[in-house]
Symmetry: C2
Subunit: 258 residues, 2 copies
């Protein structure tokens, strides 16, 4: 664990496509990410906001882990929108926080946004070297899954979690993707089987299911129930954000430009 | 992750008992183990064999991670039974392998056994510093759970997994323990909720449920289906193995001796 010795890293078997779920960023080093298309999942709220922002025409979203890094972009003189929160409140001097409601067409179309997201950035950083890194949330579930189906690549669904801890919301979404890919020539690992079964348990009322979790309690305390409700909407968007160097851009425009 | 900075480690809240599940040894550093009674879980087959051996009167079982370490005990001239396997076969010169069928009364009563178990030893090692470390398996499920109920301590169920990877059999057992502790003043974390829901999904036929997992496939290839069946028996035993320095002994005799 922690080293990149390929003898101890998982790679999918020959002849079938691996469909693996990484339940915490702390487990990413167990996977040989070079063998996978990676999907980063941070449902409350980073990857939901990113999907919504890219759908609404944001030129790019740059994820950073610290408010200070975010502020540094302003100091460099770039005309970027800056998104930073502490304890559920927009940090003084920033344009907005992490709520998906900040990522409307009116606010973000044509803009580049620097977004502070600790868990998401951590997961992205550890997934560097993957064949491709895309962003998933309930908002773009079907569109993302349909794209994954035709990639002919192994897939690693990375749950960003909370400070490396397992969380249910990210795992449930991973399970939803596994569900969409069922019946194809994929070989799910144990975590993918578990994620799917948990999704199956919770899918009829994901909101209610997640209410029993610690993270959800924490978010409710922050007064962002409306954000939670928003992030659990299925197929509100179709855009697939993809990492292009340090920026997340719309996959379709990224393809067009190359 | 990886460092022991208590700011980033989980400790249960005041006033309720934490009931947390650690889904991989790689996640143990996220927990402040000093706050917990730890249960080590390695269903196929280390902790099942340990429960069965202690039940059958083994004086002590010493877990080691390498066959070479195991052999070293013989060189030291101790009159120990040595258990070591490679690829499902007893290593030449050793008394037996890791099959629970080797841990019968006839073979182990009054003996000390040195057992080679990579994942279990790894999990044990990382849990050092816990208030107490006990051993769980389906074999001693109810006895262990009843003991946990009256400890008035936070509980951390550690799944030994497979080379730090999540596995379903250990998680299902963790979920079975969570189920037995329901209705008491425990606060389960997200992983404990997930483990319980997975157990609930699989409990009517755990053997069939686990057949779909990778690890189970691997074990079937090794020709040890009978071991798997044996390890999934519920409440065959009542002994609770507890770590006493480097040796696992029967909790009740350990208490008697003090």
């Amino acid at each position: 664990m922690g080293n990149k010795n390929s003898n101890t890293q998982k790679s999918p078997l020959q002849g079938v496509r691996g469909l693996d779920v990484c339940l915490s960023p702390a487990l990413i080093p167990l996977f040989n990410v070079e063998d996978y298309v990676v999907v980063i999942i941070d449902i409350f709220r980073a990857t939901s906001s990113i999907c919504y922002g890219i759908e609404n025409g944001a030129e790019a979203i740059i994820p950073v882990s610290q408010v200070e890094e975010c502020a540094a972009y302003a100091e460099k003189g770039f005309d970027y929108l800056l998104a930073a929160e502490r304890d559920g409140k927009v940090v003084d001097g920033f344009d907005f926080g992490n709520s998906p409601f900040s990522y409307t067409k009116e606010k973000v179309a044509g803009k580049t946004i620097v977004l502070t997201t600790t868990n998401g950035t951590h997961a992205l950083h550890l997934s560097r070297g993957a064949k491709k890194i895309v962003i998933g949330s309930f908002l773009n579930l079907t569109s993302l899954s349909n794209w994954l189906k035709v990639q002919n690549e192994n897939i690693l669904l990375v749950c960003a979690g909370w400070k490396n801890n397992f969380n249910l919301e990210d795992t449930l979404f991973a399970g939803a993707v596994v569900g969409q890919l069922q019946g194809l020539n994929f070989k799910p690992d144990d975590a993918a089987i578990a994620a799917y079964d948990l999704y199956h348990t919770g899918k009829h009322d994901i909101d209610a299911y997640l209410k029993k979790t610690s993270h959800s309690e924490r978010l409710i305390k922050l007064g962002i129930e409306k954000d939670i409700e928003f992030c659990l909407q299925v197929d509100l968007t179709t855009a697939i954000p993809v990492l292009d160097c340090d920026r997340m851009v719309n996959l379709s425009s990224s393809v067009k430009h190359r």
